[in-house]
């Protein structure tokens, strides 16, 4: 019996899409250090598709695994699909999270939505300019 599923441990030990996208056009950061979890998502969106995604996370094992899984779920996907990503989908893809760790998947969903909002904001600003 382990604390986490094999999938969580795999994504925690070998996180996918770790890092920064220098020319990202959508960046979202959620959480705070006080609570012990911060996630930052970098999106490179072109032609309505998430061409690239990277993340940085300060947090526990399930926070890192949730970030990693979330990036895998949205990479190469059209925005319409990315917008509907839920924390449940992230948790399910990880074969579940302990109850008290579900907030990590919520954070992953929020980080992506926050990055999408940033992308929309930039679009509007560009349009104004």
């Amino acid at each position: 019996m382990a604390l986490y599923s094999e999938k969580v441990m795999d994504h925690f030990r070998n996180p996918r899409n770790v890092g920064v996208i220098e020319d990202a056009n959508g960046i979202g950061e959620v959480g705070n250090a006080k609570c012990g979890d911060i996630m930052k998502m970098y999106l490179k969106i072109e032609d309505g598709i998430v061409q690239d995604v990277k993340f940085e996370t300060f947090g526990c094992g399930s926070a890192i695994a949730s970030s990693s899984m979330a990036t895998e779920l949205i990479k190469g996907k059209p925005l319409s699909e990315v917008k509907t990503l839920t924390n449940k989908a992230v948790a399910e893809a990880l074969d579940g999270l302990p109850d008290y760790k579900m907030h990590c998947s919520v954070l992953a969903e929020e980080a992506i939505q926050s990055a999408l909002e940033d992308y929309q904001r930039r679009l509007q600003e560009d349009a104004k300019a």
Partner: protein, 394 residues
């Protein structure tokens, strides 16, 4: 596997295992039974009581066996509170970083009308006896301050606190769960009225502990239903566990001086090595701490992920991060010594024993260095600190 979590629990000593096994097999009678087989068990029980009493400077009648440290803490505090209440004294003094067995009992007492003063433990994690003295009032019935902290290992001036309590005629309870068997302690010399201990912290079995109550300090029982322990703790005695506890304590006491010297050397090697990590800080006083306790905060990372990766490298350790406590708040101990939430989440406790080797210590240092660096490599907090967007705390 490198076991560096002796503050959580210790491996049973071979002598304790042998003692326990032999009593489970041969001495399984009920000590309350009058036939020979029961009376033999009773003898084992009383022999253990005598041995344990002798090792801490107490009389056998002053020792009662419990299920462990938490029960002993509960019973000691509840008893002193009831005694106080009978005299119209309902004020208790404790410290902000006690074990939850103490703090939660005090919380419950507050709801029952008691007033509790929690003393500051300062940045070094040590209570000042003069502050205990200043906090004592006419209606103070109990001072309960631990001997050594379970997370940061700082040793409290229990003898001095005890002297203050004696002078002021207030009962003094010591949660000595982390101290018994590890540092010198004597209830007479140290002016202690009530003391809690737990066997599995000194290479004895789990589920067994004891409470020392000085002659004349009346105990009230938490568990009703029998005449065991002179009516103070109902339930058929765990004879094998109690005998094994006595065996383990005897051994710990006999080897204490030599072990403490070696463990302290290894502890200081660990502290020196981990201090090389940038933006890291030792928690609690560097000298006045348990021989085997090392506790650090590393800025920019979170403790649980550190523990999981250390586990992958074969190292068993512990952390005061929120994620390891199952709540959103990090350890109350780290907060009490003034660490703010942001860095308290990145804590690591290593509690080593006499079986650790120098090679293992060096391996731990290397593993922690690598892991902290790796986690910082993709921490947005660390990025902000390095870019100057956020200021370093450590």
């Amino acid at each position: 596997m490198i076991y560096a979590d002796n503050a959580a629990t210790t491996r049973m000593s071979e002598a304790a295992v042998r003692r326990m096994t032999s009593l489970i097999q041969e001495g399984w009678g009920n000590p309350s039974s009058l036939y020979r087989h029961g009376q033999i068990a009773k003898e084992y029980l009383e022999q253990a009581r005598e041995e344990i009493a002798g090792l801490i400077g107490a009389q056998p009648r002053e020792i009662i066996f419990t299920s462990g440290g938490s029960e002993a803490d509960n019973q000691a505090i509840r008893s002193a509170a009831l005694l106080g209440k009978k005299k119209g004294k309902q004020h208790i003094i404790s410290s902000a970083f006690e074990h939850h067995a103490v703090l939660h009992t005090l919380k419950a007492l507050e709801k029952e009308g008691f007033e509790v003063t929690l003393l500051d433990v300062h940045e070094n994690g040590i209570v000042d006896p003069s502050e205990v003295e200043a906090a004592i009032r006419e209606d103070t019935c109990l001072v309960t301050i631990m001997a050594a902290n379970n997370e940061i290992g700082t040793i409290q001036p229990f003898r001095e606190i005890g002297a203050v309590c004696r002078q002021k005629n207030v009962l003094y309870h010591v949660d000595a769960v982390q101290a018994v068997g590890h540092i010198p302690l004597n209830v007479i010399e140290d002016n202690i009225d009530l003391l809690s201990a737990s066997a599995h912290k000194f290479h004895g079995p789990k589920g067994v502990g004891f409470l020392y109550a000085k002659k004349g300090v009346r105990l009230f029982n938490l568990i009703e239903g029998g005449a065991q322990e002179r009516g103070l703790r109902a339930g058929t005695e765990n004879v094998a566990g109690i005998a094994a506890m006595a065996e383990a304590l005897k051994e710990s006491m006999a080897g204490m001086q030599e072990n403490a010297k070696y463990i302290t050397k290894m502890r200081d090697r660990l502290i020196r090595g981990l201090s090389e990590i940038p933006h890291a800080a030792l928690n609690g006083d560097a000298q006045r701490r348990l021989p085997g306790n090392v506790n650090f905060c590393f800025e920019g990372i979170e403790g649980e992920s550190l523990l999981l990766l250390l586990d992958d490298k074969g190292i068993c350790a512990s952390s005061g991060s929120a994620c390891t406590s199952g709540s959103l708040d990090p350890s109350h101990v780290l907060l009490a010594i003034g660490r703010i939430h942001d860095v308290a989440h990145g804590s690591l406790r290593l509690s080593i024993g006499e079986d650790i080797t120098e090679e293992e210590v060096d391996y731990i240092i290397q593993a922690v260095k690598e892991t902290v660096e790796y986690l910082r490599g993709f921490s947005p907090v660390w990025r902000d600190l390095m870019s100057g967007k956020k200021e370093f705390i450590l």
